[in-house]
Symmetry: C2
Subunit: 347 residues, 2 copies
């Protein structure tokens, strides 16, 4: 099985390296990795954050293991050349529309959350975020108003097919868990959200076993702080999902622990830690590779049909934490490679 390995910028190469070690250990030689340039690293090497060779590799692969993109050197570039365009481009070009982000606190890390331990301990949710539409991909630009003023604009929209397919992922995910789905929108203000809500309700008729509720995004942002334990699965659009999933991850403690998967309708997927490229600590061996290692486990489960191997990795991460493995973000001193060693030792 072919894995497109896209380390990207900053700490991306360090953390993906450890994930590859762990994958090799659990799969023997079942996976072959092919490396591609992406993000600021790709721009610097070949002038584009998502070169055609990388896109072609991603299309050919069974799954994509992605590090992180983002490079301060590229901040002043035109939008279409910035590192972030690589991830947006991959999502769009490969039809990767369903971003799944589980947020759960490892009991060993109860101290890492800013929330009270009794609040944080209850977090066990998945955010299902749409990643192919919304205001991210609508027409956008700069224009001049009738009064001669500069104006920026972006069109937000969703059609019923786009909403229905992500809603189904939300319901399926809830059905496989505790059977509760919360759909988040801003239907009291946005027509895009009104359509979202209408279609989610239509789709819900096929899932009578799942309990559906609706929440406005402002209230959801509050509830994720007040009592995140109330949520099982949250389904939402691209923009609200961007905000809420980062917020939820912080509620669950260190952002260095949380994996993500972004799937298309062919079960191809892109797997990446939710943290960014962290240029300030890049190359110093300080980054926590566990989020990437857990993303690799998701890859085994969702794209490669290797659920048993995924379970083994997840158990090894828990065991490594229980044995005291701590990178600096978790209050310890272990290097990126030592964290990888700890997981390998636990396997």
């Amino acid at each position: 099985m072919l894995i497109a390995l896209l380390p990207g910028d900053g700490i991306g190469p360090e953390v993906t390296e450890q994930a590859v070690r762990v994958l090799d250990a659990v799969t023997g030689d079942a996976l072959s990795f092919e490396r591609g340039l992406v993000g600021g690293a790709a721009y610097k090497a070949v002038g584009h954050p998502l070169p055609p060779e990388t896109l072609d590799l991603a299309r050919r692969a069974d799954a994509i293991l992605f590090g992180a993109v983002g490079d301060p050197d590229c901040d002043a570039l035109e939008r279409h050349l910035r590192p972030e365009q690589a991830i947006l481009g991959l999502r769009k070009e490969l039809g990767l529309f369903a971003n799944l982000r589980p947020a759960r606190l490892f009991p060993e890390l109860a101290d890492a959350s800013a929330l009270r331990p009794e609040v944080a301990a209850r977090i066990d949710l998945v955010i299902v975020r749409e990643t192919n539409g919304d205001v991210y991909f609508g027409e956008k630009g700069m224009r001049t108003t009738a009064d001669g003023l500069r104006e920026g604009y972006d069109i937000m929209s969703y059609n019923e097919a786009e909403v229905a397919r992500i809603a189904r992922v939300g319901f399926e995910t809830a059905r496989a868990r505790r059977g509760r789905l919360c759909s988040v929108d801003k239907a009291n203000v946005l027509e895009t959200s009104q359509l979202w809500r209408d279609v989610v309700i239509e789709v819900s008729r096929n899932y009578p076993d799942v309990t559906l509720n609706h929440m406005y995004v402002d209230n959801a942002a509050m509830q994720l702080v007040r009592d995140p334990g109330q949520f099982d699965v949250i389904v939402t659009g691209n923009l609200f999902g961007d905000i809420l999933s980062d917020q939820a991850s912080m509620c669950a403690g260190s952002i260095g622990m949380l994996p993500s998967a972004t799937l298309n309708s062919r079960s191809q997927g892109l797997y990446e830690p939710i943290h960014g490229s962290a240029p300030d600590i890049a190359g110093q061996g300080k980054a926590n590779p566990l989020a990437t290692i857990l993303s690799a486990a998701m890859m085994l489960r969702y794209s490669l049909g290797k659920a048993a191997e995924a379970d083994r990795i997840e158990a090894a991460v828990a065991a490594a934490l229980a044995a005291g493995a701590r990178s600096p973000d978790l209050g310890g001193r272990m290097s990126t490679a030592e964290m990888g060693d700890a997981v390998l030792a636990a396997l």
Copy 2:
């Protein structure tokens, strides 16, 4: 001085009643109150959530004291008849573009926050949210795609004049506090945000004494959980401000404690608690009136030039809390009127 008193729905009438008692106590007969119908209550009485008489009253008044709007009976109405349209209409018609929401934890209530006490104790920030533009007020509607699919759309936009005037409020607010302004946008994806960032940077040249930084909204949502003490003043657009200000309020503990002001360029203002109409507890005397009482204090300070009276109210609220006044949301048993009594006693 004329105050438009708009109690609205749910707990709105109960909480504004206590605020009026407190205002009367500190201002003698300097204020005269004129009542108007608003929200679901107005719809039920006269068929529109913001009747012309109410709008006229609001225009004539020196300031508006607002309870809350929102009524489940109205959920199925067409958008333009729903209670929320009253607040959106007032903001737009009166040019109330600058929503100020201070978030601070009263030390007596350290236990009310879901955040660890040491994290929550450091919260002392103001969110300055633009409330006259953004995707809230752009063209919106339902249309049919070329494939015959239903599609909802909303246009997000800001022009340079709109951004500059809210940026100035942000800088002025920061200058009067600890001198730090964080502008929140999503400039890595949205052109509206790119213009926002460009204009904020332009305006910053007039405020060399204020330290400006920029943060993406997803990161801001994380940082508000991780370390809210890092923020002094946050300035952001209508949609992001809606989400972040509710989130911040929950970080600061009970939502029953937090006031807000929304100002126009003539210093007319609308003052309201940030909580909603809470229909589940309406009419039971369980609502905490302190957020509305603190909103009344903001009204004295920002619209009526009575800073000393505002200080007296704020000190009385702190004293009442110190003396043990607690409504159910704060873990106590005092009724809405008893909470009002406690503040009056402390005055």
